[in-house]
Each structure stands twice: as C-alpha cells, then as structure tokens.
Subunit: 491 residues, 2 copies
C-alpha cells in the first residue's frame, strides 16, 4: 500500500492529521466539530478505558451515570466556575420537531420551547454536586468515590482529531470527603494513577505538577496535572486532578453531620482524562512510517504475514502457523494471521507498520524448510530470524523489551528537550530552536505569565511536584523567585 | 432496616418505583426527564454491558463512536424514518453562553445561533449511514459490522426510571452488507444473541417474533423483537433487530461496486438494547422483599453476615471467614463480608435482601463451634446449614440452581399467563383478568390492530417466529386469518 504520509520533519501537523486518517483511527464527521472514532481507533481507546477502569476500581471507585443536560441556572451557582469556564457550549432550547408546512422535511416546533435552556454538559461538577446534596447527610455517607465514563461537549471552531473536538469522550471522577486532608490525598492519589497509566501503559513519560492560578480549573482550589512532551517539542496536558475545596459543596449546599454532631460542608475532588490521550499516544511515539503502539495498548500485538505464491503455499503456511496462533492466544497475546490472497506481502508489511502493530512475523516457504520465522520489531525496525519453536517462549520478553524501548526513547527525547535557562533571550531562543520544556525562574505573578504567553505563546505547564527550592530571578521581570517552573508551547 | 416497600399485589407500579429507589439503582434527577443511575444500579448495567459486548465481538462486531449531534436535514432524508419517528427530540440551536448584563449568571448569546439546528441523537441511523457512504466503495469493504455504546435522547413528559426516560443508555449495532440474504441473516443472528442474553443471563424468558407494520421501526422493512412478560401481566419489549433493506443506503447514496462490476445499493441492519433491560430484570424477578438478581448479573453474589456481640466475636468470625473469602474470589465469585459494627444482623439481612444478593452466609459463635454456615437463598428464601468446608465446593452448583430456578419461575409464570382465545369477549376478559400474553387470530389489517388498541390498550407484541399455520377467524372483524398473533398490554 502507498502510505503517502508526509514526513514529521517537513510538516508535523499535516503528518499527524494524515496519520490519524490513514491508520483508520478517526475522521472528521459531517457534523461540524465532531469526530467519528473508527473501529481500529476505538479498539485502542477501549484498551485504555479498560485499564483505567480497573485502576479506578482498585482504588475504591465505582461507576455511575449522571444526566447529559445541565440546567442553565446550575452553571451560575459556583461563581468562579461560571466565570472561568469557557462559555462555548451546546444549548438546547426546544424539545420537538414538526413536519414542515411545505412538506419538505422537518422544522423546529416553535411551541416546544423549554422554559429553561439546557446545556449539554461540558463537565459535570454542577449536576453531580446537585445530586450529592441528596446523598449526603452524615459522615457515614462519606466518602463518595464515583467515576463516570461519558461524552462531553465544548464548542470548538478550530478542531483537530482527538486533540480538540466539540464532542469528546472522557471519564470524570467526582469524589466527596469529610476532611480536607482526605480530599487532598484523593486528588494526589488520582494524579499518581494517571502518571502510572501514562508511563507504564502508554509508555509516555510525564511530569507531575501543579498548575498556576491562571491555568487552574474554574472552581478548583488546586489543579494537579501530568504533562507530556510530543516529538515536535510541544507539551500536551494528559490529565488533571482537581482539589475543589468546599467550593461546590457551598454552591450546592452539601453539608454533613460530622462525628462531633456539628454540620460541615463536604470537601470535593474531580479528575479526568479524555480521548485526548489518543493524540498523546500517537504523537509521542509514531514515526514517518506510521503508528508505533506500545504492546500493552495495541489491539493486535503480533501480525503474521505469509510469504507465498499460490494457494498451496498458503495452505502449508497456515497449517504450520495455526498451532502457534493458538499457543499465543492461550498466553493472552493478541495475534492475527493476514491470509488475504489479493495483496502482496509488501503491501501488508506497510499496512501493519502504518497501524503500529508492535511485532511482525513473516513466514515463507524457506522458513517452512528451515523451521524459522522472520521477526520484525515495529519500534526499532530490527529484523531477526528466530527458530519457530522459540516464538512462544520469546514473545513475552520481546514485547516487554518493545514496551520499555518505546518509553526509554520518549524519556530520552524529553530529557534532551528540557532546558534550564536563566534569561529571557535564552528562553526565546530555546523555544524557537529546539523547543521542549524550558525550566525558568518566574516571579509568581499572573501578569508576568500572561505577558510571556502573549509574547512567546509559551505557558507555564506546571510547577513540578519534585521541584527543588532554588533562589533566582524571574527571567521576565527580574524579581526574586524561589523555584523554577516548566514552560512550553502546548497543544 | 425498614424497607417500607409496598406490596406488588397492592400497587405494582408504586412497588417498582420504590424498589428502584430504595435498592439504590437509580433516581430522578433535577434535570427533567433524566435519571441518575446510582453506583449499585450501574454495576448491574456494567455486567450486562460486558456480557453483551463479548457476545457482539464473538459474532464479529467492533465498537466505534459516532457524533452525538445530527443535523436537522439528515432526519428528512429517509422518508418513512422521519414520518414514523417520534419528533420529540432535544434541539440545539445555539453554541455559546455569555454573562448576563445584570451580572447574575449566564444567558444564551443571541449572536451564537447555529445556521442549521442540531438534534441530539434519538438513534443514529442517519449520521452513521452518512459516514458509511465514505467507507464503502467496493464489495471488499463489506460487510461493516459496527456497534456503538451511547446515550440517546427522546423527549418524554411522563417518565419512569429505566423504562422511559428522556436520556437513556443503549447500544446500537449498524451493519452494512453486499446482499439481502446476508443482511437478513445478520438481523436474525442478533435477535438470537439478544434472546440468548435475556434467557441465559437475565433469566428472563422471551418470545422471539416479528412486529406488525404498525409497530415496525421507522425506516425498516422488518422489525424483529424479543418480548418478555412482567409479573403484573404486562409485556415488555426487551430488544429489537431491524432489517433496513436498502432504505438508508438509498437515502444516503451508499453504493458499492459488486463482484460483477456493477453498482448496487448496500443492505443494512440495526439492532439495539438499552437500560430498559434493567426495568425488565427488576420487574421479572423481584418480590415484596426487594430485588431478586440472577447470579450471572449480581454485582455481589454472596454476602457474608457475621452474627456477633462485640469486637472479639467479630474478630474470631473474620479470621474464620477470611480464607473462605479468598477461595471464593479465586473461583471468580463476587463476595462481600459485611463487617459494619453499627448495624444489627437483622438490618443487614433486610438490606441485602432488598439489594437482591443471591446467596447469604450467616456465621455466628455457634457456627464457629460447629464448623457450619447458615446459607440462605434470596430467590426461594430457603435456609440450610452447611459444613464450612463444603461452602467453596458447593457454591457453583448452588448459584447455578438459583440461576435456573429464577428462569424456571419466570417461564412458569409466562406459560400460565399465555392464553389462547377465540372471541373478542374472551380476549377482553383475559386482558382485564389475569392479563399476560393473549394469543388470538387477527385479520392482518392495520385498522383492526388500531381499533383493538383503542378499545383495550392491548397491542400486537409480535408474530412469534415459531408460529404454526392455523386457519381461524379474526377475533375483531371475523375475517379469515392464517395464524395467531400475540397481544398484550405493554410497557
């Protein structure tokens, strides 16, 4: 197959768009701003979901489901939530269509206007806290540890598949606690869960940190985040975990009788990751030949391609590999035998490279004679010839090597693209040159942060959790600073 | 705990509503028409989802995701779809809010009006077929076997939890085929999958049948369904599978180059089940004490309640049951030890009965001495004393017995409440008396069906697939009829 992928070095943005389409991950729909996630793309998302869901359950959470619609008035209840949250929302104003008088199709029935408009949820804090009010009377009802897998809508004019679309899929955890300490611990725990998932399953190294007030979630007292670096030197926020204080409890009057018999407002957290992770996964690892998927998330881990002329050879190869396929499946390996007889091996090789299958086995007539398989790694493109009988035995360690290799490569890239700078000139030079994370002193003022953003398009991605105290001077204002923060241009 | 459940015999409808709330399955939300599915209810739905999802994948389907919104014009493209489909839809007309001039909250920004209104999907045939147009060029691109798990909205004024709500969760399969025969086979195959799921997992016996043209899905050429009977003698449609012919392919111009080189329209199917199944599950089995869940769908299969005075006894019981719990878990049994020390055993018994846990183990000091457990079945309320060592060994067969017992009971009820009648007088007498399915001759005319519905509120649930040809006279018109059909009042 002709891939026709642009090179990353020539046009990274176009490369990404084309890759998402050609690898059958997603496409723009005719519905403006919305995407279609295609079966192959969705099967990767399903793997992510199932691993995250297990991690949430292991940390004590249950799933539930809350309404898609939020009454307009709810959005006004938490002052900084409505103030800070983007107002680009889908607004439902009517509840009925009727046949058009001209007989051509349907029109909106003007008589079916809602008394109060409904907003398609951009996030669910308001509707969930209005529900928690009825769930909480006493400290015995706490904590509430609930997660929801859902679609949300934030109107976007300029969209990019997975990275920014009007509708996207996500999970949103919403927890309620009796004490501040417990809520802060929950916020930090879920950040660690996200970091664990990003690094050990997506093979994407992340920096754990805290957002500045400017970048904080509207309605939160503290926003924690994980930040990843893409191959074009831009950062991508991969997940956030918010300590909400008592803000939403106060807005929705959620109080509980504490052990001492008094009444307290409940403490809250919320945390989420979305199909944006698909964008991070694609951009962190893939190359000019196509996707590179870590084995833990690959829908197909091993593709077997027969090299044959005619049906007889295909038959012989099938018979040879059938037991191997069964053994691999029994080990929990996802394996596919590509026996399509209208396509050349070269076409198939290119297709499965494009789709990021971690390991390719090629078996031809000579392999049958010699009892061998040609094994090719997608990540390094290394080929080796192994004994047929060794394949099952070797598979786990090879897949693990690939998983580690992909992570190490991304980590090396990030390390090489994290630069300490001590002047604004140097700061701009690095941003416009090699890009990546730029670690610099900042005076802590929102105005400074905004000025730098205006002038360079770089934002403070986070104040890393493992930051060391270090006296210095703000690169912009020259005012004193006690620590470096991490800047980058970002998705 | 005081359950305060009404008796089924006194007020079946109130009993259902109260049970759904008291067993923590779901509740009405402050958002009109929408429900909140609570963690315990959602965990049952998750079990259903995961089993169905596995069945769909085993029959060759993949999941994908399509937009929540449908442009208004799409609904007009398939004539009978728009004609027959309910027009009660949520309509999005604006895409932005703004701060209210009086500083109190937000208003809809009048400048942000959409050029074309968007409908929140009531079902996705239109948006999916508009996408399939781009996926299909040749017979090699067929079949497309795709399923979507999604939320849909059909505006409802009078709602009932799980049975009828404005927003509900469902799956919708949408397949595309090169031949009519293949599409019909797919339609029938998925009906069998649904029946298998209903009977072998939900333990709800169903009649497989075909809908009359009156009750057919708008846009389908044939609608297959499974119909279940509830304990109040009313029927409930538990799933539908539609043969769409070439209707949507024609509406959205989806053609393919066939093997002979000609151009054909694609053949389609769609099929779905929803959170309505939760209603069926609850109403088919539960009793005046609460939920009765089949073991295959119970989030907790075994509850262990310690009968103790004081912490020492609890400690002794814990030590005794800990290894049992581990062994049960290792067998894949979902087991919970209710060690809450502020509640009486009686309260706990009632709570877990209400929540439908299939099997209860009670362990007290005397049991410790004797090496026994008191085992109580939720379905039959039978108690027996078993040897502690036997518990693990016996568990599978007891759970299987319960599963079968629940199904048999429901089947017996249905058999006793399926009545052949030969006159309209008898028909009405049965409907108003014992209720259930009424099997009667019908002349095949839509007008007759409508008259009967008007006069008795009974509809033709289906023409059973296993119907035998039988000459007779329509109970309403007296005209000749070749087979009986199944009537009932329905949810």
């Amino acid at each position: 197959m002709s891939k026709g992928l642009p090179k990353r070095s020539e046009d990274y943005s176009l490369w990404y768009n084309e890759l998402v389409k050609k690898a059958d991950l997603a496409e723009h729909s005719a519905v403006k701003g919305c995407m279609v996630i295609k079966p192959y793309g969705f099967s990767i998302w399903e793997k992510m979901q199932s691993i995250l869901d297990r991690m949430f359950k292991e940390t004590g959470h249950s799933n539930a489901y809350f309404p898609l619609f939020i009454p307009k008035s709810y959005l006004s209840k938490e002052a900084s939530h409505v103030e800070g949250f983007a107002k680009e929302c889908a607004v439902v104003t009517h509840y009925r269509l009727k046949n058009s008088p001209d007989g051509k199709g349907v029109i909106v029935d003007p008589d079916a206007k809602l008394e109060e408009e409904l907003i398609v949820r951009p996030t669910s804090e308001t509707v969930i806290w209005s529900t928690y009010k009825n769930w909480v009377q006493s400290y015995r009802d706490l904590p509430i540890l609930v997660n929801q897998w859902a679609n949300v809508v934030r109107w976007e004019m300029r969209t990019r598949l997975f990275l920014r679309t009007a509708e996207f899929l996500w999970q949103e955890g919403h927890t309620a606690h009796a004490t501040k300490q417990e809520a802060v611990e929950e916020t930090e725990k879920m950040l660690r869960v996200y970091a664990d998932f990003a690094e050990n399953f997506m093979a994407v190294p992340v920096v754990k940190g805290i957002k500045t007030p400017n970048e904080r979630f509207a309605g939160a007292e503290e926003t924690y985040c994980i930040e990843a670096l893409m191959q074009d030197g831009k950062a991508l926020q991969a997940g956030t975990s918010h300590f909400l204080g008592q803000n939403f409890a106060k807005a929705f009057d959620v109080k509980f009788a504490n052990k001492e018999g008094g009444l307290d407002f409940v403490w809250g957290t919320s945390w989420g990751v979305s199909t944006r992770l698909m964008g991070a996964l694609i951009m962190a690892h893939s190359d000019d030949e196509g996707l590179v998927l870590p084995p833990t998330l690959a829908p197909i881990q091993v593709i077997i391609v027969p090299i044959m002329k005619g049906k007889e050879q295909l038959q012989a190869i099938s018979e040879k590999v059938d037991p191997l396929i069964k053994e691999l499946k029994a080990k929990g390996i996802s394996v596919k035998f590509d026996d399509r007889d209208t396509l050349t091996p070269g076409f198939k090789f290119a297709e499965w490279e494009l789709k990021g299958v971690p390991l390719r086995f090629a078996v031809g007539p000579r392999d049958l004679e010699n009892g061998t398989i040609e094994m090719a790694r997608r990540d390094t493109k290394e080929k080796s010839v192994i004994k047929f009988e060794e394949a099952v035995h070797k598979i786990d360690s090879v897949l693990q090597e690939i998983q580690k290799g992909i992570f190490s490569k991304a980590l090396k890239y990030r390390e090489e693209h994290t630069t300490n700078v001590n002047s604004y000139a140097e700061f701009k030079e690095v941003l416009d040159g090699k890009g990546g994370f730029v670690s610099a002193h900042w005076d802590g003022a929102s105005e400074t942060e905004e000025k730098i953003k205006e002038e360079t398009k770089a934002t403070i991605r986070c104040i890393p959790l493992d930051n060391k105290a270090e006296e210095g001077k703000c690169i912009y204002s020259g005012k004193p600073s006690k620590q470096r923060v991490l800047f980058a241009r970002a998705y």
